[in-house]
Amino acid sequence: MDTGLQPGTCNVQQHLSRRSLLKGTVLTAGGMAVANWGALTHSQTIAAEAKRTGKRCIMLYMEGGASQSDTFDMKLGRPTAGPFRSIKTNVNGIEVCEYLPKIAKHADKLAIIRSMKTKSVDHGIGGYHMHTCYPSNEKFPHAEIGAMIAKYCDNPESDLPSFIKMGVLACSAGSGYLGPQYEPFSVATDGTLPSFANPNVPQDVQDRRGELLKFMEEQHAKEHRARPFASHREAELRTIRLMRARKAFDVADEWNKARERYGNTQFGRGCFTAVKLVEAGVPFVEIGQDGWDSHNDNFPVHKANMSVLDPAWASMLHDLQDRGLLQDTLVVWTSEFGRTPAINGQGGRDHFGRAWTVVLAGGGIKGGQTYGASNQDGFEVEDKPVDEGAYFATIYKTMGVDHRAVHYLGARPIWATPEGSKPIPELIG
């Protein structure tokens, strides 16, 4: 099978350790990747090349586009202001929306970038751009940030998937040129596994089935020397191992105690599960919160959404810190774009990329600061514009990933971030 992978990327025909071989992508008989189960092709060579940082990343993705003017860059007293007030945070001089009272108590951990200036201001293209660092119109299979971090930050000894998406619909680029082994493993917003992941037969029966399948496929492979059969067999074994590791997703008992703090929502449970997953060693988890596309009724819609976001995000930061994980876990709050400063005839705000806000916290980030600024009504960046390249480069830098890492698709080189992209040193602690 032609993987399309070239020097600089992992190639299954390279030498494989048995353990790394067991960490395979589920492939269909035809070889199509259907899920990420880890790093099938983490060869020893690649493992040595890759910088194993021990870093983790949780990305909170506000699907539809959250309004900067109503969250972290309020324009009180200006014509573009809405009905929300600001409140003080635990950092002098930083104020946030009154409906983020819990996150306000963690402002010392936050780096609030108020000067995002991005180019793709519709959902499909914006979701793609803010997940891959590249515009979708290049017609190139770029890799999502989750796949990149999975590649460079995964622990090859872990049974768990390396790139997990919870309820995220904004981008389906997946692993792109990095190959199917880094495809996202998608679960529901609350982090629960699909029902098929819960075997209804005892473990010994499951093991015997696996052995039988292995025997049958080995016999078949002797006569049909093609890799899909081996991959298929390993995928089955990998599945069995995931079954053993699935407890990391099973937070039901602990959730009963945590849900009052996180909010009894799927998003809240997803954030709680994400803490458990990074604790278990998963390098990248993305959680989607849908419903921010407020072309109508922006203010009640944002107030309702913040009532879900605030307790979940704040409790996540608290628990990461409490468990000693925050210093190595980058938490990103982002969207595909922001929303117009001006309010339209439906009481809504529309898509806006010229001056908006993302927030970074935790591992490698110097918290307790705002970075950049929009102008007085929020229509333009006034200070320190941040484009997609700088944003991604900063994230990669904090994760210990070379933001100019080069990979190849065929003979064509592609870099993790476009030429000229540089991390923002002021944000990195």
């Binding site: 009905p83 929502t265 107030k303 309702a304 009532s307 229509f379």
Partner: protein
């Protein structure tokens, strides 16, 4: 039967400062309007023919959006509910106050304000009008969040308010004293009180753009609450599974009307339900306004219901057969809505506020 065929626009009152959210007639010749900046203006409509009325009073005190206003049945008090967490009483008839002014065009038209627009359009030369500035005569501060629901009994004795924390408060209206409160589960998007004061009909809806799995705690509810005990005596959540923008009893107590549309609806929604106030049973379903019905008003003739919506239309419905009598306005499925309506006590005038900065006064009957 009045078919309102001769209805026509009598006055156009410009007020382009912020969206006008609620209207109320004070007697038959004054109209009050409240907006999202927290201002209330009062116009005297009794002007010589051909002259456009100017506002005469400005009621100042709210510090955030005003969501609802009403006039007590005796016409003496205007009551307002706001996102500044307060309910305020105002002397509706007094002409006393401090001399002041109001700029009628300090807002901006939202038209065209999109990604490609660099800044808020510069305001035109200010149109400043001298007014009497008045302050509230009473503040009710018992709510902790946005007060969205506001209604009263026809005898003027009971006031009911509801907020987005799900708190419903019943007040002795003349005294401004809280009598009892109870806790619902979600935002009180709108409520009405039965003419006998015994039942509160309330729509609960937390305005997520759409209901999603995982938000089961936020499923919309509609209940009849017993005012004495503060308990639910009828759960109509299955019959009315959406958020209502307006819930209003007809003054004669024959009808309870509920309009779908406190947030944007699908194009085939925004319907108006006419319920039996005793049983909660749906008697009629009116087509309403696609993408959302914003406000309702029963005509004093007891035979007609007026509605307005996000389709930029005002519609008149025959209560007996549920048929559309006529409509005003220009249909559009997205644009500047008609956000609020009010009918004068004598049934002669209709006030309608759009979101493009004007209030239209219709003469309904000659």
């Amino acid at each position: 039967m009045n078919d309102f065929a001769s209805a026509k626009v009598l006055h156009t009152l410009p007020w382009n400062s912020a969206y006008i959210t609620s209207l109320a007639f004070i007697g038959n010749d004054q109209v009050a309007a409240a907006n999202k900046k927290g201002d209330i203006l009062v116009w005297n409509l009794a002007v010589p023919e051909g002259k456009t009325p100017d506002p005469v009073r400005r009621l100042v005190g709210h510090t955030n959006e005003i969501n609802r206003i009403l006039i007590t049945p005796d016409g003496k008090t205007l009551i307002s509910a706001s996102s500044d967490h307060t309910v305020k009483y105002w002397d509706a008839l007094s002409d006393q106050g401090e001399p002041g002014s109001v700029v009628l065009n300090d807002g901006f038209l939202p038209k065209g304000v999109t990604e490609k627009v660099d800044k808020v359009p510069p305001p035109p030369a200010p149109v400043e009008v001298k007014v009497i500035v008045q302050k509230p005569i009473r503040d009710l501060t018992n709510h902790a969040e946005w007060v969205l629901g506001l209604t009263q009994t026809p005898d003027g004795k009971t006031l009911v308010t509801g907020d987005d924390q799900g708190v419903i408060i019943v007040w002795d209206l003349p005294a401004g004293k809280e009598l009892r409160r109870w806790q619902a589960t979600q935002w009180i998007s709108s409520l009405g009180v039965s003419p006998d004061g015994k039942t509160v009909a309330a729509s609960q809806h937390t305005p997520f753009i759409r209901f999603k799995q995982g938000l089961e705690a936020f499923v919309p509810h509609f209940h009849f609450w017993d005012v004495e005990s503060g308990t639910s005596k009828l759960d109509l959540s299955k019959e009315i599974p959406q958020g209502m923008s307006t819930v209003v009893y007809s003054p004669d107590g024959k009808w309870l009307a509920a309009a779908h549309g406190n947030v944007q609806t699908e194009k085939d929604q925004g319907k108006i339900m006419l319920l039996d106030p005793a049983t909660g049973k749906k008697v009629r379903e009116l087509a309403g306004h696609p993408v959302g019905t914003n406000d309702l008003a029963f005509h004093p003739d007891g035979k007609h219901l007026f509605s307005c919506g996000r389709d930029q239309q005002i519609k008149i419905w025959n209560l007996e057969d549920g048929k559309l009598v006529r409509d005003f306005g220009k249909f559009a499925d997205r644009g500047v809505w008609i956000g609020a309506i009010s009918i004068s006590p004598d049934g002669r005038l209709l006030a309608a506020a759009d979101r493009a900065g004007q209030i239209l006064i219709y003469l309904l009957t000659t």
